[in-house]
Point group: C2
């Protein structure tokens, strides 16, 4: 299984070979064969399946809502986090993004009390109208084409492929099929708790614990699938526990400043773990023939 028709957006590199050999090994009859029911693949989302710079996509979504809240009530511009947005305080906003729980909480507060259906409409409206600030395309087009091909390959080999996102589960579900061909019930992620009342489901002010980052990732994966992953992909320190529990672990390294972004911040432990454990590190510059599908 090394035909050039497989993973066409990947260069013919060691990373591509390692992936193809592992998939072949666990799906053909033999001592390493794994039955389809146990072929669980889990992928982090931000920075692993789509672009997370210069901001998390979900942060742009929340900022847009905060902007609306400031317009509805200008006094809000005197308090954080709205003040930071009103004053375009990039230092403050960047430090917010360094704290995933705060981001999850921000989404929660911005959409507290509405039905899950109304939230989904807001998400779809965002994806229909917003564009990436530097790539200049809708956010539905900032997924990495080589990773979409990898997901397709795994699915063709009867893997059950899940997204396991530190960001909002209910933010990704409305677009996961369009972006990655992954149905909504296979999206695992951090979430606002919902409450059933009078026949409908409402978003609350509570964040489900644990969030789906760090040790929360293998915990969420167990809760949702009853498995540890056979194959996992990530790009950051928060992915290390998930990658540690997987049989095959892929780490995306952002080293392509010209075609995407180059950064190691937040990935130091992940890169060190990859060296220690022999994980497959993907250089976006060297291993990806193309990054986006256009």
């Amino acid at each position: 299984m090394t035909g050039s028709d497989l993973l066409p957006s990947w260069n013919d590199s060691a990373a591509r070979t390692a992936i193809l050999e592992f998939v072949e090994t666990v799906t053909r009859p033999g001592p390493s064969y794994v039955p389809p029911a146990d072929r669980i693949a889990t992928f982090d989302n931000d920075g692993t399946l789509w672009c997370e710079k210069p901001q998390y996509v979900e942060a742009e979504f929340v900022f847009r809502r905060w902007q609306e809240m400031i317009e509805e009530d200008p006094a809000k511009a005197n308090e954080q986090p709205y003040m930071a947005l009103a004053e375009d305080d990039q230092t403050w906003l960047s430090s917010l993004l360094a704290h995933l729980p705060d981001l999850v909480k921000g989404v929660t507060e911005a959409y507290e009390g509405i039905t899950v259906g109304a939230f989904e409409r807001a998400v779809l409206e965002f994806f229909a109208t917003a564009t990436h600030p530097t790539l200049g395309v809708p956010y539905t087009q900032v997924g990495y084409q080589p990773m979409r091909e990898l997901i397709d390959l795994l699915r063709a080999r009867e893997f059950l492929v899940f997204i396991c996102t530190g960001g909002g589960r209910d933010f990704m579900r409305p677009v996961s099929e369009q972006l990655y061909g992954i149905p909504r019930e296979r999206v695992i992620g951090s979430a606002t708790a919902v409450q059933y009342r009078d026949g409908d489901l409402y978003r609350t002010s509570n964040v489900e614990q644990p969030i789906d980052d760090g040790t929360g990732k293998p915990e969420h994966i167990w809760m949702r699938t009853g498995h540890t992953p056979l194959f996992a992909g990530g790009n950051a320190d928060g992915d290390v526990p998930m990658l540690t529990t997987a049989r095959f672990s892929l780490l995306i390294h952002h080293d392509d400043a010209s075609r995407e972004f180059a950064y190691d911040a937040g990935a130091d432990k992940a890169l060190a773990s990859a060296r220690d454990h022999g994980w497959t590190v993907v250089s976006m510059q060297n291993d990806f023939r193309a990054i986006f599908d256009r």
Copy 2:
């Protein structure tokens, strides 16, 4: 779609006809067509898919562990809940079962601190050795054959079928495929929180909130699938919110004292809701040609 080869363990009754007509309506082209991605079916487990009398199966599993704990430490027989078991205090044990959170907590305490793998082995050991007190067969044979056929029919029509159990999710996952052909990642249920540590997952002393009963059922179904059910089946008051959110709602009525058990306790509100909302009520006595597969 009313051929006699479908649902063979069902009598040719109004309930069977209503099921077949609904499935036909939402799967054939037309104004009521529902695409496969949205064909979510959810079934309560205890009393809906398998026998829950004279005790919940999971209670038998927990009692067996409590018995071990008493043997390891006889002083335990002086405190509840172990005393009730040691003294065979049926009044106390029955009142325990009336309180599902206590049962979930009991499971949690009985198996606190062990790995999810060790718990799974304990579950499989129980199913391999325990037998139902009145039916005299292993618990893997107390599932209702007509419901297995219904699950098979829904799956053949491209429904995604989930178990949604008020009992322990991790208690059913090891046997859900064998019992119902439902893979473990499609088991939704109450659960002990797990904690990731040093590459493995350990059961904790915390019960995940909410438990998967009452309003917790549609909440769990949303968390796990991002859907409300198209088709749902239940048998008790704790299933009412789930059944209320479904397009087609099936209520199993336990009225067959000779072949199974006859009881309405805990189903009064469900039976009243079924009348109010026109849900399809299944009389086990009249609608099931056979109850068990033997």
